[in-house]
């Protein structure tokens, strides 16, 4: 097996980073993210890469991951796309500067296109040559409800408590509607 410098590898790790970060982003106080975008390039840039992945996938029509995002990959990010991303990621693009930053980030990631990947088989996992270990069907875990529940901010009688739907607790406490642009 020859490891080729495949842009796909970059994309895979980038999207892994996105996925990991998005877990963190989800439960942040959503209202504040707009300001943060200027000081700490976290949410917007990571999402830029995610959007770019979507654009690239659509442009190359590869791997069956279709995308409804702008196939041209032009720098302009439409209001519709922002709304869609907000809905998917629960990230609030609080301001116009955040959108501008997003567009810059997309342009930055666009340089991936410079690499010619004709005839290169995408690498999905660095483990592709490893054997997938099969575990036998025995019960060896569980019964640690108490331990697990300690991780939760709110608990009711051995149930984790979450806000209804995908609204954050801060929104509920403040009793404000979810902001849209």
């Amino acid at each position: 097996m020859s490891v080729q410098a495949s842009p796909t590898l970059f994309m895979a790790s980038a999207s892994a980073a996105v996925a990991a970060l998005s877990d963190v982003i989800t439960f942040k106080r959503v209202a504040r993210l707009g300001e943060d975008a200027l000081r700490r390039p976290t949410g917007s840039e990571m999402w830029a890469r995610a959007v770019h992945l979507g654009l690239r996938a659509a442009a190359r029509g590869s791997r069956g991951f279709t995308s409804k995002a702008d196939p041209q990959g032009s720098g302009r990010v439409t209001g519709e796309l922002i709304q869609h991303l907000e809905r998917l990621s629960l990230v609030d693009f609080g301001s116009q500067e955040a959108v501008a930053r997003l567009e810059k980030a997309i342009a930055f990631a666009d340089r991936l296109r410079a690499v010619n990947t004709d005839g290169v088989e995408p690498m999905e996992s660095v483990l592709e040559d490893r054997c997938l270990y099969l575990r036998s069907d025995n019960v060896v875990e569980g019964n640690c409800a108490e331990e697990l529940l300690q991780n939760s901010h709110r608990v009711v009688e051995e149930y984790f408590v979450a806000p209804p739907g995908n609204i954050s607790w801060s929104k509920l406490d403040e009793k404000q509607p979810f902001p849209h642009h």
Binding site: A19, D23, E124, S125, L127, L132, Y133, V156, A162
Partner: protein, 542 residues
Amino acid sequence: MAAPMLRWCCPGRRFAFTRVGCGSCHRRGPPTGSTSNGKRGQSTVAQQPHITAQKPRKGEREWAAVVGLEIHAQIASNSKLFSGSQVHFAAPPNSLVSFFDASLPGTLPVLNRRCVEAAVMTGLALDCHINRKSLFDRKHYFYADLPAGYQITQQRLPIAVNGSLAYSVSVGRKPSQMVTRTVRVKQIQLEQDSGKSLHDDLRSQTLIDLNRAGIGLLEVVLEPDMSCGEEAATAVRELQLILQALGTSQANMAEGQLRVDANISVHRPGEPLGVRTEVKNLNSARFLARAIDYEIQRQINELENGGEILNETRSFDYKLGFMPEPNLPPLLLYDSGSLPPGADPQQVIDIDRLRERLPELPRVTRERLVRQYGMLPEHSCALLNEVGLLEFFQSVIKETRAEPKKVTSWVLNTFLGFLKQQNLAVSESPVTPSALAELLDLLDRKAISSSAAKQVFEELWRNEGKTPAQIVAEKKLELLQDLEALEQLCRSTLEAHPHVVMDLKRGNPRAINKLIGLVRKATLGRADPTAIKEVLERQLSS
């Protein structure tokens, strides 16, 4: 105005507007043939039979509905798909949850061998092509019962593809008029189940129980080859029976082990397919057909009123949420030809060995019953349709000398009737197979009449611990064996009722029944009516 023929397809329901073209009903109108499916641009299977008929009435046009299904079946395994916590229906909340299921950082998925075998067996039973290499993906979406923020599934390259599922629908008033339909199986994939959320609207919160999170699911995707609720429900029922026969899933809809999402659209025959909507999480077999038909009718009404069909779940169709699962290498399966030598048997899965060990499928069982016992196809269907009924039937057959047809009739009519009346399962039956076998032996020997046998059965049902022979003796139900006495009784009855004899001789055929009744009363119900009739007729003709 109600279209009368729809009653045959969906009894009790009337489609208020125009008729829905449903392949399993008689239709008045041009047959849809295969053109309507052909617009999809794939190779088609002609689904609707050409039922030629009269032209549609002026001003009415046909609608054709198209139904596809996504069925999620919980795999019957001891532990979960990627972790070693237990799979169990009822348990204290969050007690069957491992660190991985709770998505704590640093945990990794480890694939359960039993789940892979279950997927392969199901694929083989549905005539699928088993992919020797399949891949796992992450499908991202946010919901409180999905702690990781993604579900591990097999979207790109699932474990099995391109199979078919055959089922039978009735096409006429008579249950014997059955036709076999097939629906293509697009793919079968392994995926994780999510946890359970309980919505507490009063306090604006959701309670999360992760016991179900991570349980292995088989997602079976059926192509939109079905055309109404009844076909969809029958296909699901057949899949249920297959999964239960294989042991890969208990497929109990009431316990949430089998969940169905339906994709429904309507169109005019010959025109392109319409916009589809999804009806999600159907978890009752009875509700399934009705919900689908309701949605079909709703779409028809909407379109006939000039509206359009909106698909609200379109946003979930956006596949922006997928990426390969980086922690799992490709899943490789082998057959006897490709098994690597010296491989650890625990670590390799041999498709050929699994194929050899496949149990008998319901379709094969039904055909065997028809062949072996000469029963009608609808009887074999009925035997398989009730849990435990087939085993009961086979136990009785083994122990009795009576003819299989008699056994079939007693099991399906009398026995099943009593069960249904009191809403009991076969396992809760007060009558054992041996008891029924003994009763049928008595009947077969002509020791008792069939009406007496019914009486004995009722007694047995009361479960007072008596055997059929004891009941017969107690209630003096034995058939009169003494032919002489019978002849005597018949003669005396004929002499005692000359008017009836006169009536009979004048040509009234029903008079004989009166005579038979009189003789029976005289014998205290212990004589077989057919025997009485034979004796009387002989005596009358002499």
